[in-house]
Symmetry: C2
């Protein structure tokens, strides 16, 4: 992959150089460095923190405001019971293998991948192929080196099998992986020991609320659950009308066993999640679908993947929904909105695709799922999941708590309903059933129509029936006709009750930011050391670089005036007054992605305007301070672009920057 991935300027991407830039310009670093950095936790420095804030503001505007979503903020600390019901206590887990002799804990899929990859590398060595050096966890590299020290050539069949194994690894269950480990004699690469079979380890951070020890809790693994539990409030705020959508931007947590891949796999991360509630009987149509129907998307479907392909088809979302490739209009509408958002923040459209989940890969609650994947030097990475969670969550929470989590809707015309009901004579049954009364009542309510009809017949014939009742001795109770009767009743129904289905676009903000940084990075031709971060002016962490021609106190009043005006215009700026050449000052600030530079020179002191330099082209225009500021404001708000500014303001041919 490392060889295929190119920068926006078409150059080979040098991850080491890129990471060096991120370090040098303090975009990010591992948290708590002085105490020995903690894996999977990152701090954002000023450039990345500001970039995130700009991206979040665009997200809010693009989704919450434009789509009239209901913004929510829910708690991160979440009681045990909530996540037990949602399924996360049982299923939000990774498989790990323990090395019984050293006590080391290894993620099962990582273990398999590492060992098999190192065997393939060793095979390539044995065949005399050149081995590509990739930037990786040095510890891991050491492990691999150890495992690969004696180059071993594989036979063709084994090589093919290994390649297939790697391609399908994400799709394996714990038992599958256990079988693979036994079959291929996969051992802990550091110790050479056999490992225990994969066991599931929950990935939530556990804690407790209060000091009593009676309120176990987790840090939430997703923001969704809080949104579901707010369903009634949301429905109230929407005057009972569906479709409606909530949106939440907040942190979630995942206690990774051994995090890798920098920002792409972390333990604490910002998500932006939408829960769009629809009536399942509506066909999940979307009122604004017509407006996006002709938008083309790169879609990599399940079928293509099953056949081993990885080239997406370019289709309009209209075609995709009509052919049922994408299940419904609402899912389709969101795929388009996601793509438009990505383009708005500056993601390279050629490095974006939508991939349909494989059956085995979907979350435990999902009915269908498309990921928006972005290409980076790590390969194609899921950055937005767009799942149809069906009615799963609302149903299980309603069942667990007895809270009504449905929509009640007046029917246009009342409907006559005929159905079997079980009538319990509580006065008589009470003394006989005693403490089981409630359980029996609930059991009777839950019986199917068919079963009730059968009971009615049995009652007529035998005067008694046996009914399954959860939680009583023996699991069933015999009831005679004295205390229960089964009759067919007719009633007019005027209301319809249903559990909405939920379509959920879920954004991993950190992954998007990381991909965005890679997409914006390139180096100037003829000078690889001069790298640039081409952030769009709308999202750039700092908008303007102010450079006085040289150190000279005469520039001070003009600079002060300019600074006051930039402050009034609410533009962030940086002043570089250091003694080095203007070219050098621009060049080192290109690495921060500052889109515009304003130079103050001796002519500026005579009221002859200032120079404006654009980062990507390094072209300049010159005009009055006011006109330059107006142009900068317009470009930073996305109301005008550089081409247009260049046309209306006089060009300026300055000295060569390389000086």
């Amino acid at each position: 992959m490392a060889t295929e991935y190119k920068t926006r300027a078409g150059q080979p991407f040098d991850r080491a150089a890129f990471e060096s830039l991120l370090r040098r310009k303090v975009f990010l670093w591992q948290s708590f460095e002085p105490y020995g950095a903690v894996k999977g936790l990152f701090d954002y420095g000023p450039p990345l923190e500001n970039l995130e804030a700009e991206v979040i503001n665009i997200w809010r505007d693009h989704f919450i405001r434009h789509e009239k979503m209901m913004a929510l903020k829910c708690s991160m600390l979440t009681p045990y019971e909530v996540l037990k019901t949602s399924g996360h206590v049982d299923k939000f887990a990774d498989f790990m293998c323990k090395d019984p002799k050293t006590g080391e804990i290894l993620r099962s899929d990582h273990l398999i991948k590492d060992v098999i990859e190192s065997r393939l590398t060793s095979d390539r060595e044995a065949r005399g192929e050149k081995i590509e050096e990739t930037e990786e966890d040095p510890k891991l590299k050491k492990k691999k080196a150890k495992a690969a020290k004696a180059a071993v050539r594989l036979d063709e069949a084994t090589k093919k099998e290994y390649e297939h194994l790697l391609a399908t690894l994400d799709d394996q269950t714990g038992d599958d992986m256990g079988a693979l480990i036994r079959k291929h004699d996969i051992r802990n690469p550091t110790s050479g020991n056999e490992v225990e079979p994969p066991v599931s380890v929950n990935l939530m951070f556990q804690t407790q609320i209060g000091a009593t020890g009676k309120e176990p809790a987790f840090l939430r693994p997703e923001t969704a659950q809080g949104q579901f539990l707010s369903f009634q409030k949301l429905l109230e705020f929407s005057d009972g009308q569906l479709p409606m959508a909530s949106a939440s931007i907040g942190y979630s947590f995942r206690n990774e066993l051994s995090p890798r891949s920098g920002l792409l796999r972390v333990r604490e991360f910002l998500m932006a999640e939408v829960e769009h509630f629809v009536d399942p009987q509506s066909g999940k149509r979307h009122p604004k679908f017509a407006s996006v129907r002709d938008t083309k998307l790169p879609l990599l479907d399940r079928k293509t993947q099953n056949e081993g392909g990885s080239t997406p088809q370019i289709k309009t979302i209209g075609e995709a929904v009509d052919s049922k490739l994408v299940d419904n209009e609402t899912l389709g509408y969101f795929l388009v909105r996601i793509m438009l958002f990505m383009e708005k923040i500056g993601i390279d459209p050629a490095k974006l695709r939508f991939r349909q989940h494989m059956a085995n890969e979907m979350a435990h609650y999902a009915a269908d799922c498309w990921d928006c994947e972005l290409l980076s030097s790590y390969g194609w990475i899921e950055c937005v999941g767009c799942a149809d969670r069906s009615a799963y969550d609302l149903s299980v929470h309603e069942k667990a708590t007895g809270t009504f989590l449905k929509v009640r809707e007046p029917l246009k015309e009342p409907v006559r309903v005929e159905e079997w009901v079980a009538n319990l004579d509580k006065k008589k049954s009470g003394p006989r059933l005693k403490k089981d009364q409630g359980k029996v009542e609930a059991a009777l309510k839950g019986l199917s129509q068919e079963f009730k009809e059968k009971c009615s017949l049995a009652m007529e014939k035998e005067g008694k029936v046996e009914v399954p009742v959860e939680g009583v001795e023996g699991g069933k109770v015999e009831l005679d006709k004295d205390i229960v009767s089964f009759v067919k009743e007719t009633r007019m129904e005027t209301m319809r009750e249903y559990t909405p289905n939920v379509i959920e676009p879920s954004f991993g903000v950190g992954r998007i930011l990381y991909s965005l940084m890679e997409h914006c990075y390139w180096t100037r031709e003829k000078d690889e050391a001069r790298s640039v971060m081409s952030f769009k002016p709308t999202i750039a962490p700092i908008k303007v670089l102010l450079v006085p021609l040289q150190k000279d106190s005469r520039f001070a009043p003009v600079l002060a005036d300019l600074e006051a005006k930039l402050d009034d215009a609410q533009l962030s700026f940086k002043v570089d007054q250091s003694g080095v050449s203007i070219g050098k000052r621009y060049s080192r600030n290109d690495e921060l992605g500052i889109p515009f530079g304003i130079t103050v020179d001796y002519e500026s002191l005579e009221g002859k305007g200032v120079t404006l330099r654009e980062r990507d082209s390094t072209k300049q225009v010159r005009s009055s301070l006011e006109e330059i500021l107006d142009a900068v404001v317009a470009m930073c708000k996305g109301k005008e672009n550089w081409e247009s500014v260049q046309k209306r303001l006089p060009a300026f041919e300055g000295k060569v920057e390389e000086e």
Copy 2:
């Protein structure tokens, strides 16, 4: 307090009515209601979530952008060692008393306050005074009722003592509180049992990172520590120059034993914290202090409080700093900026004061501290702490980790330094000291100048000295002149090294939002049921209400056009098409604080413009759609106010709203 606190319109504040509005319009609610709401955790619904986002954006602009602070985002999960060093493991705690018979856990200060307050209430009853009913935790009310059932009159001395006790309770240590509990026979009000003496309980949420159990961690109790540990990166980004400031907007956690007071005391909360690093030798001057010197602030100093007073003095910050009432310019500058921020978001200036911390009340690290307090129906509440943390944090982290957390600055002129040094001859000492070699070396380095001078004399006389060495047997080591010599050396020092001091304004965002909502709330004269949330247009969660005169499909195209234009202008809006009167539609949306209403009527269909209604005055103007939109945009950006719009656009006398 409840009787004193008034709305912005000067009416008595009815907290029950206010809370009912917050519930009805889903501003907030306790989290996880379907599972039994968890105390101290709150969810924000759309109005409050959007309000928070607007307030945060203003904060970012007012502090981060305008003051060129370095924005940081640090991890919430924090390793044990970091918080051990910072002092939080030992000192971030509350005192609690256990009821040994019931196992109940009571916060010591709450226990004392409840019991003493109920005795005072009982006394007032016995004197025949009317008891004010206040909205409170029903459980607590019950407790009080129980304790107060037999009205008991207190003698004057006891009454005075109790009143003094309540006024000074915040200032008590655990032992103090234990003494008070014994002296006044304070018992658990629910059981009547004596309680155990106060013990300290840590208030951090504990968890662990990874699956090994070897990485204990906490959820951070403040964002500050992450900022301190990023010190080196910040200094790099600032080209080594001080003063510099970092700023972080993020969540912190506090595992309250028994949270009360709604949003004012919660377990998970958003903070906005600034760490401003200064050279302690600079006198903590601030370059922009001159620009704020004449700003007047309400300052309640320590002295006034000690004398039992609570009326702040109105002084310019210049006077306050000159007289050393406020310790230094930087602290003073921030107090002014805090006040300006509060005014910008719509806090009532008459409900704001700055209170100096009492000596005993300051955090374990603070050198001086002023709180910005806001008045609400709960009384004066700390919403921003502005502390001088001195060099505490950087020093302890440097000591614990060995990481260099100082500033290194070239001296203007080299300084000649004469000092005693101990030279250890390691070749000779090694074989003799063996494993203690390192400890001896460190001990010699740490000796004071005076001690070294004495050693030099002793060595001359006796040929040996005894030096205290930590960690060796007996705690000291005898060294003879063969292996160590003490000599006076002269060297030229060209660099100065120092640990910066830190001034920290720390904002509790939830408390500010709660106070803001109370400050914005009032009811229309003659109609208490018509309540209004007077959010400034710049922070209002929804900017525009669109109301077609009545249900009529002919309005659809005009509405669609208006909606598209509002969307283009990036203004949030709500359409109210329900069948009720315009007056009613305005009135129920006044509770959401929507500042502007645009009415589309039959004349609008003929191109005769639309009506704009302002929420607080209910006055209207009428003009073309374009002009109305321009006015709304200008007001929502804070570029124009309603008075000015009223002057330039024609007034419109509509029907009476009360209809």
